[in-house]
């Protein structure tokens, strides 16, 4: 992980954070739909210093067969961090943390995808984190949703995600690695903007009820910013421009 500086100021008196952002300002986000030829759908996201590639396959045959469901298709998600994605080499074997994040992302996508049209099939989502800098689960969820749309999987809505948090007793948007390590709370939020529904909400840290409400509001507003970029990425690939 990036070196923790004991003298680092997370939030200065002018409301500027350690990387120069304002309290409600997300990092630079770039999303690209497509890019992988052999996958049915794919997406690449740069979320600050996070770099994540997602490939989607399916609907396709389920192997092993006993996992298949005769009523509906199933969604399988693998979140994986490359050995070179963090400062110190990460063992490529799936860790406890990666298994948890895979499950969390799967459950955050499930309300959006409509797999009941494809019984006895599976949709596989492969998430590869090439470079990590805090907030990978949100970035991965955002990219996975674009990749699923690119694959043509029917979806009720896109899922956009971003983290809100608390540092220096202030509610902030888009927690980076330093703020995650030294901050007081981290709350990743996944949100379906058109249906106005939350599909992912985790919280690590302690918040008062007021701060909690504020955090959710800040996170949901942040998701709407991310959603616009998802929309732009898909429009660019399919309609050749940023808007209609």
């Amino acid at each position: 992980m990036g070196g923790r500086d004991a003298t680092m100021v997370l939030l200065d008196e002018n409301g500027i954070r350690c990387d120069g952002r304002k309290i409600d300002e997300p990092r630079r986000i770039m999303i690209k739909a497509g890019g992988l030829k052999n996958a049915d759908g794919s997406a690449y996201i740069e979320f600050g210093d996070n770099k994540i590639l997602v490939g989607v396959f399916g609907p396709r045959d389920v192997h092993p067969k006993h996992m298949s469901n005769t009523d509906t298709g199933i969604l399988r998600v693998r979140y994986h961090m490359e050995p070179f994605s963090v400062g110190e080499r990460k063992n490529p074997a799936p860790s406890r943390r990666e298994i948890e994040i895979s499950k969390v992302i799967k459950e955050a996508l499930e309300p959006a995808v409509m797999l009941d049209k494809f019984p006895r099939t599976a949709v596989d989502v492969f998430i590869e984190v090439l470079q990590a800098d805090g907030g990978t689960r949100c970035a991965a969820l955002t990219a996975a949703s674009v990749a699923l749309a690119d694959a043509g999987i029917p979806m009720r809505d896109m899922v956009a995600a971003i983290a809100a948090g608390k540092v220096a007793d202030t509610v902030i948007l888009d927690v980076n690695n330093e703020e995650d390590q030294a901050g007081q709370a981290d709350m990743p939020i996944g949100y379906m903007p058109s249906l106005e529904k939350i599909t992912l909400l985790q919280l690590d840290g302690i918040l008062t009820p007021e701060e909690y409400k504020k955090c959710v509001q800040v996170g949901v507003d942040g998701c709407k910013i991310v959603y616009e970029l998802q929309k732009k990425a898909l429009h660019e690939k399919y309609f050749g421009n940023g808007g209609d």
Binding site: D40, G41, G58, P59, R60, D61, T70, A112, M114, K117, F118, P119, R120, T121, A149, D150, A151, G152, I153, P154, M155, R156, D157, M158, M192, P193, S194, L195, K231, L234, H235, Y238, F239, G240, D244
Partner: protein
């Protein structure tokens, strides 16, 4: 809603009001929401989205091109470029007096053979049942297979078949389009075959471009002179 057609992505509200949701849209409250990337079309009483991406989902009566994967003593299995395999019973080929002992399936269709087939029956509980007992169906003996995205098949056919007619006229090729995105082209002259293939690939790549028929026509004619 003033304009009838627009570009949509999943979650976009196509329209609100008393419309019947058709393909690729869902009704959520009184909003009609697109479930896929595509072009929305609003008719007098219904709304649909024409998808621009996605796998082939079998529909009854669709003409598809299938490739024989394997057979049992009673049926063939066809790869129809979908998440399900096509099921072709032996009776369909041998007739009703088919006998599993007397008739050998491999004599009619071997694995790797291409067939033009029609989806006879499909529901969510079983794999699609296909048939080749109809006019123009059956084993394809000659021609080149081209794979395009199934969502671009309507574009290749064009409005009332204009696109495919343009290609066929200019190249003298016979083109069979399967709804599953597999296309078989056969032509007497090798140049015609090459040109037709090129045109089909062009449609696949530039499906979203307006006036594509004219562009294809131009391409076909310019190549003809050189």
């Amino acid at each position: 809603m003033d304009n009838k057609r627009k570009y949509v992505i999943p979650g976009d509200v196509v329209t609100t009001g008393p419309f019947r949701p058709e393909q690729n849209v869902i009704l959520e409250g009184n909003k009609i929401i697109s479930t896929t990337i595509g072009i929305s079309e609003i008719y007098d009483d219904s709304v649909k989205v024409i998808p621009l991406t996605g796998k082939y989902i079998p529909k009854i009566n669709d003409l598809v091109i299938g490739k024989v994967i394997s057979h049992t003593s009673l049926s063939w299995e066809l790869d129809i470029n979908s998440c399900y395999v096509g099921f072709l019973p032996a009776q369909d080929v041998f007739g009703r007096d088919f006998s599993a002992h007397a008739d050998e399936l491999a004599t009619k269709l071997k694995s790797g053979d291409l067939v033009a087939a029609r989806i006879a029956n499909f529901d969510r509980t079983r794999d699609p049942l296909v048939t080749i007992s109809d006019r123009d169906l059956g084993k394809i003996d000659s021609g080149d297979l081209i794979k395009i995205s199934p969502s671009k098949v309507p574009r290749l056919i064009g409005k009332r078949g204009t696109m495919i007619q343009t290609i066929e006229m200019a190249t003298d090729a016979a083109i069979t389009i399967g709804q599953n995105g597999w296309v078989v082209v056969s032509c007497e002259s090798p140049e015609g075959l090459l040109k037709a293939k090129k045109a089909i690939e062009m449609v696949d790549e530039k499906a979203h471009v307006a006036n594509l028929t004219d562009q294809v026509k131009e391409m076909l004619e310019s190549r003809g002179e050189s």
